[in-house]
Amino acid sequence: MSAADPLAPPRVRGWKRLPVVRQLRQSVGLQRGMLVTGLVITGLFLLTALLAPFLAPYGYAQLQGADGRNFGAQVPPSAAHPLGTTVGGFDVLSRVIWGAQTALGAIVVAVLLSIVVGVLLGLVSGYFGGWLDRILVVVADAIYAFPTLLLAIVAAIVISGGQSSLGGGILAAAISITVVFIPQYLRVVRSEVVRVKSEAFVESARVIGSSSVRIMVRHVLRNSIRTLPLIITLNASEAILTLAGLGFLGFGIQPTKAAEWGYDLNKSVSDVAAGIWWTSVFPGVAIVLVVLGVTLVGESLNDLSDPRLRSRRRARRAAPAVATEPAP
């Protein structure tokens, strides 16, 4: 049935058409709850990361208070250190707050890098096809076959020799994550491009005489990236886990260069047996919360983008009536 009926919805313009905002307006019930929860957690995470210098009582590598005395190692939560201190003598609260900044940096760089490269490769691969497409897809599949963390470790060692500064550390982590993510973007964009390529409007652009580059950029690309917001959110949470995993295994960032949750968890392993809970719980909770928040956003975006999974408000009934049940 054609979409153009007189009852077509009024056109939505401006900021209301932006990806997440549109879905938020569209959602109802449980799906809305999930999306809102995810957005709140993600928003808190973003705020914490951006405002870390103001929120954190101490620096991430600070070992002494203003009075010049050391904090001391493994101090239980107190007024001076609400979440205690680590085995290395850092303030846990400060490390957790500063860690958000590192995590955000890694996510942004990793997602940006993998989107740019992945989308570009996917577009070229899907549009032109042929031997280039074959090679790219085989390489992508080969990367899939590796355990991602192992690949990230190899990349981290190659890039930075394993240990490094804040910029270098984030970049190393981000690049190693990128290597793992590019195949995902490539495959998703490629399959969309292959679908869009055969649509009549692309043929009509060819008949008009548009060049391949113009068709790819103006017609195909913008119609092929609908699913990207979803993949970005899912990859963001995966990026945090990979970064934390790298840090936990000792391939992350030096504690004096930046705060990193995975590193702190690694150092707190021996504390757990000694009954020192505060060094491990808070970085752990931070990781779980951020991953949860971002995943909730991603999952609800996924459901909302699929008309079959999206729940809607019931039709208003004019008279007492019997609702039809779905066909078995």
């Binding site: 153009a4 060819r206 008009i208 008279a319 019997v322 609702a323």
Partner: protein
């Protein structure tokens, strides 16, 4: 709950109201519809797309999605299907009411043999053995006219042709002897010759199997051929219900009259001579094909598929050449080859004197300035993210006729006016236009650079008849005024009769016949053309009955 009472009606629909919850708010699809389907009767429900005819029919099987809200009553053999339990509804489906879908290739599961699929319905309702189910499947396949059913019961859907697949779907519907069969556009996806056979079979469903048929269609020819009574629906309401002869000869409602007037008919009137020819005397043909062969490369071990085989034709300046044929006859392939979308395998195809065989994209680009293309489906031929104005401006920008979207706007408004769309439509997105408006915008885009040749590939087959009539009128008027040559590809002989100066009839990639339109359609020499014409249902029940008898007589004479 049982049919112990003698019911005169197979289905009685009373005050049916259906509302759908959609993203854009509630859609009131069916309003206050009351209908009766008598036993052994074919009731046709006709109307434009969006008129609620399919929703009404699907309610009989309660096949509406979860988002639908219904009120009223649909009484099937004394049972109100809107009120029974899911369990009881499952029992009713198949035994009391069955459905025949529009697209036979998607209604069958491709991974199971057809016999298994027929047996599945049987075994859902009765405990019978595999052997018994198989016997009944073979039996029903024979009765719907599948030759050699003992072997073919084990065939998979892809081993049948489109028409045979539809026969299998009808067999599945008939196997439990339902009292009502709902057929949703059962012949729309089929060629006219196959359509005629399927309509004969549906008639037998009524005569031999004693089923009532609810026929949903937008094709008035099909209605005239098969229906006993007709209900006309418009915007969710039943406008008029009448016996078929009465409806066609004396329609009561204004809407019915308009609908009937819009149906294209074969008139066989000669067209005025092409305007361009007088102007450009002695000019060579715009398109000249000689011994044209187009093949689609086969995969691995398979042979290449020859879609067009040794075809000769010309299109002169200012002339409309109609290209007709069944699906798979190669008519679209020829259009695509002229536009440079498909490669020429052999022979010669010259467009504006340039040989296309072996031509690369570089040589094609200057030609494209002079070729406009109107696609079949206006819904997909526009980039959904562009406004209509942007889409129409694309050819101007690509060929440097305008420096930017703003500079092109003047010309775009001019073009929109030419196709009788308000200039404000330029700021809308394609999904905000109706099918007919979109196809007019598509025409505007094709005409943006004042092409010498327009290729129209089934431009009206996705449109409702009333919309089709207006688009065809507009097309004829523009062609007269602007004098472009046109290749008009269609499967509808009545449409081609209306627009084309000359006709080429294709049959399996070869030309069956070509010549001036009134000659070819009025006195066809080729048997394939004759068969095509005989199968075309005319929107007049009495004439159609006579034609049907003549066709059946001719077929029985043939071995």
């Amino acid at each position: 709950m049982t049919e112990s009472r003698v019911e005169s009606d197979a289905v009685r629909i009373r005050d049916l109201d259906v509302t759908f919850a959609t993203d854009g708010g509630d859609v009131h699809a069916v309003r206050d519809v009351s209908l009766q389907v008598r036993r052994r009767e074919v009731l046709a429900i006709v109307g434009e797309s969006g008129s609620g005819k399919t929703v009404t029919a699907k309610t009989i099987l309660r096949l509406l999605p979860e988002t639908a809200l219904t009120s009223g009553a649909v009484v099937l053999d004394g049972t109100d299907v809107l009120r029974v339990s899911g369990q009881r509804m499952r029992e009713l489906r198949g035994t009391d009411v069955a459905m025949v879908f529009q697209e036979p290739s998607t209604a069958l599961n491709p991974v199971f043999p057809v016999g298994w699929q027929i047996a599945e319905g049987l075994r859902a309702h009765a405990r019978i053995s595999r052997a018994q189910a198989r016997t009944r499947a073979v039996d029903i396949l024979r009765r719907v006219g599948i030759p050699d059913p003992e072997t073919r019961v084990n065939y998979y859907p892809h081993q049948f042709s489109g028409g045979q697949k539809q026969r299998v779907v009808i067999a599945m519907a008939l196997v439990l002897n339902p009292s009502v069969i709902v057929a949703d556009e059962p012949t729309t996806a089929l060629d006219v010759t196959v359509q005629a056979e399927i309509l004969d079979l549906l008639r037998r469903c009524r005569d031999e199997f004693g089923a009532a048929v609810v026929l949903i269609t937008h094709n008035m020819g099909v209605v005239a051929d098969l229906a006993d009574r007709v209900s006309v629906m418009y915007e969710g309401r039943v406008v008029e219900t009448a016996p078929v002869e009465e409806l066609f000869s004396a329609p009561r409602e204004e809407y019915t009259r308009r609908l009937l007037a819009a149906v294209p008919r074969l008139t066989l009137a000669a067209k005025p001579a092409p305007v361009g020819q007088a102007r450009r005397t002695g000019g060579e043909a715009i398109v000249a094909a000689h011994g044209l062969v187009i093949e689609y490369p086969g995969r691995l071990a398979q042979k290449a598929f020859r879609a067009v085989d040794d075809v000769d034709f010309d299109i002169n300046a200012g002339e409309v050449l109609g290209l007709v044929g069944e699906s798979g006859s190669g008519k679209s392939t020829i259009g695509r080859a002229i536009a440079g979308l498909t490669r020429v395998t052999d022979g010669s195809l010259a467009v504006f004197g340039t040989e296309l065989r072996g031509a690369g994209e570089r040589r094609l680009r200057p030609l494209r300035r002079d070729i406009g293309f109107v696609f079949q489906d206006p819904a997909t031929s526009f980039n959904p993210l562009f406004t209509i104005a942007q889409a129409i401006a694309e050819p101007l920008l690509v060929h440097g006729a305008a420096s930017g979207a703003a500079a092109a706007r003047g010309r775009v408004d001019e073009l929109l006016e030419q196709v009788q769309l308000p200039g404000a439509f330029g700021d809308r997105f394609p999904h905000e236009l109706s099918g007919g408006q979109r196809q007019r915008a598509s025409l505007a885009r094709a005409l943006a650079l004042d092409p010498k040749l327009l290729i129209a590939d089934e431009p009206t087959s996705a449109l409702d008849v009333s919309v089709q009539a207006r688009v065809l009128e507009l097309f004829a008027e523009l062609q007269q005024r602007l004098g472009f040559a046109c290749l008009f590809i269609t499967h509808d002989l009545a449409v081609v009769d209306q627009v084309a100066h000359r006709v080429v009839v294709l049959h399996r990639g070869r030309i069956a016949e070509q010549g001036p339109t009134p000659e070819v359609l009025g006195a066809p020499r080729d048997p394939d053309t004759r068969r095509l014409l005989a199968s075309l249902p005319v929107p007049d029940p009495r004439e159609q009955a006579a034609r049907r008898a003549a066709r059946l007589a001719a077929e029985s004479r043939r071995p």
